[in-house]
């Protein structure tokens, strides 16, 4: 039997994958960040951001050739989320 937190996590994963395809990228990235703060070790966030880059990316950001903008900021946010969680004790 799955615990309540795991069920929430699966629901969050489904919502996020649908939002990658159906909602504006800005909204999706906010949902991803919120999930990173809410769940423990939410490493899926990097995969969702990577899919965003794959689907909509044009290989360039602010004039520079760089294809993984959302993936990079997700990795950074994932790493600093441990510090944030320690500071605010969210989980």
């Amino acid at each position: 039997m799955l615990s309540k937190k795991k069920v929430y996590r699966i629901i969050a994963d489904i919502v996020l994958i649908l939002s990658v395809f159906l909602l504006p990228s800005g909204v999706t990235i906010i949902l991803i960040f919120a999930s990173v703060l809410f769940f423990n070790n939410f490493i899926e966030s990097i995969i969702f951001s990577f899919i965003l880059d794959m689907l909509y990316g044009n290989g360039r950001i602010f004039g520079y050739h760089f294809a993984y903008f959302f993936t990079t900021i997700s990795i950074i946010f994932y790493l600093i989320s441990f510090k944030i969680k320690k500071m605010v004790r969210l989980s």
Binding site: F21, L22, S25, I46, I47, L52, L55, G63
Partner: protein, 268 residues
């Protein structure tokens, strides 16, 4: 803390470490797998029906929202639109005449442009969904689309080019994407300059102040066929500068766009 408790804590820490390493390896594996072209194709195949359904639902609500509007407003809007249609019809008649004359003159000189092959495409994803100023359209390699093919609206307004091609879909980069560079012809003397995209259909170009350019002037792309690339919105300069900063906008509102045409370079 006794030995059993300490041992238990150690085991939990070790298990946590192992699952953490498993997650990291899984993510790296996923990223590597989706860096391959055919798996990306799979991603677009999954997205394509979802985007079609979303567009269907959105256009259903957009088309039926006017039912809730008041009768007076609808009558006013109807009158205004009728007036606009009549003006547009007159302008279109003149435009058709001039296009035909232009085509006839090019034919006389042996430079026909009417054999340009255009492929109509439905837009699945617009920039409001994609933060990168890209479009996803419903034609791909199976329809003869190739990387680098130009994308136009109404046959004469260039908006972007094909960046990636999949089986049934393609990704279009708009010329107005931030940092995107494109050559344009400016002013009465058709001076060629490099314009830089600023996002949202806006561009910026620096030209010498001697070039006579006014707000509302049209900017074109270097091409044998007549086209409109942008309309000058704002010109700014400092008295001490020798160049002026010209801001121009693509005449097409991407947010309202439903269809585009791909100029096929690969004519099989």
């Amino acid at each position: 803390m006794n030995f059993h408790q300490r041992n238990n804590n150690f085991l939990i820490r070790e298990n946590g470490k192992k699952s953490y390493i498993f997650y990291v390896v899984a993510v790296i594996f996923f990223i590597l797998i989706f860096s391959i072209s055919w798996t990306r194709n799979l991603l677009f195949s999954v997205g394509s029906p979802l985007w079609s359904i979303e567009n269907g639902v959105t256009s259903f609500f957009a088309n039926n929202i006017s039912v809730l509007d008041s009768k007076t407003n609808l009558i006013k809007e109807n009158d205004f639109l009728k007036q606009q249609v009549s003006t547009n019809n007159q302008e279109q008649a003149l435009s058709v005449l001039l296009k035909k004359e232009n085509e006839d003159l090019k034919n006389i000189l042996g430079r026909s442009t009417s054999n340009q092959k255009l492929l109509l495409a439905d837009i699945l994803v617009k920039p409001y969904l994609s933060a990168y100023d890209t479009l996803i359209i419903d034609v791909g390699a199976r329809d003869g689309v190739d990387v680098g093919d130009k994308v136009v609206v109404n046959g004469d307004t260039y908006i972007g080019y094909i960046l990636e091609v999949y089986d049934n879909t393609s990704k279009v980069v708009l010329y107005s994407s931030p940092g995107e560079k494109v050559n344009v012809l400016i002013g009465d003397n058709n001076i060629e300059k490099e314009a830089i995209g600023m996002g949202g259909g806006n561009f910026q170009v620096e030209v010498p102040r001697e070039i006579g350019i006014n707000e509302g002037d049209t900017i074109v792309m270097p091409s044998i066929s007549a086209n409109i690339f942008g309309v000058v919105e704002k010109i700014s300069y400092k008295e001490s500068d020798s160049v002026q900063n010209v801001l121009f906008k693509n005449p097409i509102n991407i947010a309202e766009l439903k269809l585009v045409e791909v100029v096929l370079s690969n004519k099989k």
